[in-house]
């Protein structure tokens, strides 16, 4: 199921290109949109909501054109902005009911769903409090509640973990995962912390300076890279001696912290590298602590790898 489709989507402010020719397809499940601040994430979300007009290119959200069917899109989508958006002098329950009504829910349904939604985000006991008295974590939950109370067909979450402490951040990501996987609502969630969304998202889109760097399944980012990390134990610069011995046998390697990074990917028989490492350690009388296959991280694509897809 295609939820969002963009083709050459571009947004330019004067000489600044906020989004440059983005062509991608987003399906069901949770899609993480990552990139540094200013990479074009918020611009993309506002374009998808029909709040901004693209400079060129097209996009469709749930089959609706963003240029001409903004109202239809905003009826079907839930949006949680990055910045503060809660009036402090209103009770959470009243505000969520009101926001449900603003999305077209009948009065009694809006009331029922507001109570349900606040329970789902963990604010059941605090729902009668003025939102001005909420902590950052609670405010983020209330913001999330207003985005899902009308049972949208797609949820756009802009930096939902912003400003939260590690524990609340974890809770928020668990909630995001719940929405995408248990509630069955497709989610597009952004973060400037590159590794954060690995845990919850099914697919990752990486933006850099308004350009698409990569778009693929999260598992593809975290698969085994082929590089081996070796740790040895011994006297007198054991790591250095081991590295030199491996290099002498034609294995490309370099130090990485207390480990040795061995990259056999260019060799005719990379599988034999493990044997060579074991034998070398024996020859040098060093204790071989581990040979570990390296897993990729989203951050790695900012370390100079060429862009794919």
């Amino acid at each position: 199921m295609t939820v969002i489709q963009t083709a050459g989507l571009t947004k330019q402010y004067g000489s600044l290109i906020a989004l440059n020719g983005l062509s991608t397809t987003i399906g069901a499940g949770i899609t993480g949109l990552v990139g540094a601040n200013g990479a074009g994430k918020s611009t993309l979300i506002k374009l998808l909501l029909g709040l901004l007009t693209p400079s060129s290119g097209d996009a469709a959200v749930l089959g609706h054109d963003i240029r001409t069917q903004g109202t239809e899109i905003r009826r079907l989508v839930g949006y949680m902005p990055e910045h503060d958006c809660l009036p402090p002098d209103v009770r959470a329950i009243d505000f969520i009911v009101h926001m449900g009504r603003m999305s077209g829910l009948p009065p009694n349904v809006a009331r029922e769903r507001a109570a349900d939604t606040l329970r789902h985000v963990g604010l059941a006991d605090e729902r009668y409090r003025l939102m001005g008295s909420y902590s950052t974590g609670m405010k983020q939950r209330a913001k999330l509640a207003q985005a899902i109370t009308h049972h949208p067909k797609l949820v756009l979450l802009d930096e939902p973990t912003n400003g939260m402490d590690p524990a609340s951040r974890d809770d928020m990501l668990t909630l995001v995962s719940k929405i995408g996987h248990d509630f069955g609502i497709p989610v597009l969630v952004t973060s400037h912390l590159l590794g954060e969304l690995e845990r919850v998202s099914d697919n990752i889109i990486v933006l850099d300076g308004g350009t698409l760097l990569r778009s693929q399944a999260t598992s593809a980012f975290t698969e085994v890279t082929g590089v081996l990390l070796v740790e040895v134990l011994g006297e007198d610069q054991s790591q250095h001696r081991m590295g030199e011995a491996l290099a002498a046998q034609g294995l490309p390697c370099r130090p990485r912290g207390s480990l040795i990074e061995v990259d056999p990917r260019g060799l005719p028989e990379p599988a034999k590298a493990r044997d060579t490492i074991r034998d070398t350690a024996v020859d040098l009388s060093l204790g071989l602590v581990r040979i570990q296959a390296e897993h990729g991280q989203i951050q790695d694509i900012f370390r100079g790898e060429p862009a794919r897809g």
């Binding site: 506002k46 909501l49 709040l51 901004l52 109202t71 905003r74 009826r75 989508v77 949006y79 902005p81 910045h83 503060d84 958006c85 809660l86 009036p87 402090p88 002098d89 209103v90 009243d94 009101h98 926001m99 009504r101 603003m102 999305s103 077209g104 829910l105 009948p106 009065p107 349904v109 769903r113 349900d116 789902h120 003025l130 207003q146 009308h150 049972h151 719940k178 248990d182 509630f183 069955g184």
Partner: protein, 293 residues
């Protein structure tokens, strides 16, 4: 969770909603209604109710006194004119507007809630107009309620209905015009800042200064028998503008000295009001559109 079976008893799980969704018209009505109530502090904190409720009550007290006197002394007519009531007690309206226009406009911008409204089905222009309509309705309520009270008091005390009605209805119409002008102008002022204090100050200054300026210049012009100047100056304040239309066009009693005379001047008052309202609304919509970007 919804998809799992057995085990969890208390968690009723997520319930999707595939039922009826209301039209934009219903959403607009809901926004109008809530804005109207919020202008009186209803649905907000207890503190937020103090100012609007106090002003609403203070506006009613003189009317209550008048009605009581009419009933006790059995006067056949009210001794205070409907048309001039609003201008005599305009200070109450000014304080109400200065306090509540920022509630409907500045507050959304300051809290950031504006981004939630703009990400929902109502278009930006509709949101701006509905906010204005809520404020206009609130101003109309606190201004027209005393007139209604006096009217009911007079009529129920055997005053001539036709006599009373011919004074009452033009006055109500004039209050409506004043409410629309005040709502659009003060709405625009409030939407230009995220600081409530600035908005309150700017509204108080602009309404009081313009009103005082008009009164002063008209007094000087009247003393020097400069009728033309007096009538032109009346265009500069919302209160004298609405008063001019009701006295010139609807035949009510004027509160300001330079009531417009002649069809040309009356037309100028009407056109100026329309331009002021439409201009303010256009600028307001433009300002909200910028917020969406």
């Amino acid at each position: 969770m919804a998809s799992r079976t057995g085990g969890v008893i208390h968690d009723i799980g997520y319930r999707p909603y595939e039922g009826r969704r209301l039209s934009e018209g219903s959403i607009a009505w809901s926004l109008f209604r809530r804005g109207y109530l919020e202008a009186f502090g209803i649905g907000r904190s207890a503190r937020a109710k103090i100012l609007p409720m106090t002003m609403a009550v203070l506006m009613l007290i003189p009317a209550l006194v008048i009605v009581s006197v009419i009933v006790l002394v059995s006067l056949a007519e009210g001794f205070l004119n409907y048309s001039t009531y609003i201008n005599i007690f305009s200070v109450g309206i000014v304080i109400f507007v200065a306090g509540q226009a920022p509630v409907l406009f500045t507050r959304d911008l300051r809290s950031g809630a504006i981004s939630l409204y703009l990400a929902r089905p109502l278009p930006t222009w509709a949101f701006a107009l509905i906010r204005c309509a809520s404020l206009a309705a609130a101003i109309f309520t606190i201004s027209a309620l005393p007139l209604l009270l006096m009217f009911i008091g007079a009529v129920s005390n055997e005053a001539d209905f036709t006599d009373q009605a011919s004074d009452f209805f033009p006055a109500v119409l004039s209050v409506l015009i004043l409410s629309v002008i005040l709502a659009s102008v003060t709405g625009l002022i409030s939407a230009l800042t995220t600081r409530r204090g600035f908005a309150v100050g700017a509204i108080l200054i602009s309404l009081w200064v313009s009103s005082a300026f008009v009164t002063a210049v008209q007094a000087i012009a009247d003393f020097n028998r400069m009728d033309g100047l007096s009538q032109f100056v009346g265009l500069l304040s919302p209160f004298s503008l609405a008063d001019g239309i009701q006295s010139g066009l609807l035949g009510g009693t004027a509160s300001f000295l330079g009531s417009p005379e002649g069809i040309g001047m009356i037309l100028l008052y009407v056109v100026s009001s329309i331009v002021l309202v439409l201009g303010s609304l256009l600028l307001l919509i433009r300002s909200y559109r910028r917020k969406a970007k």
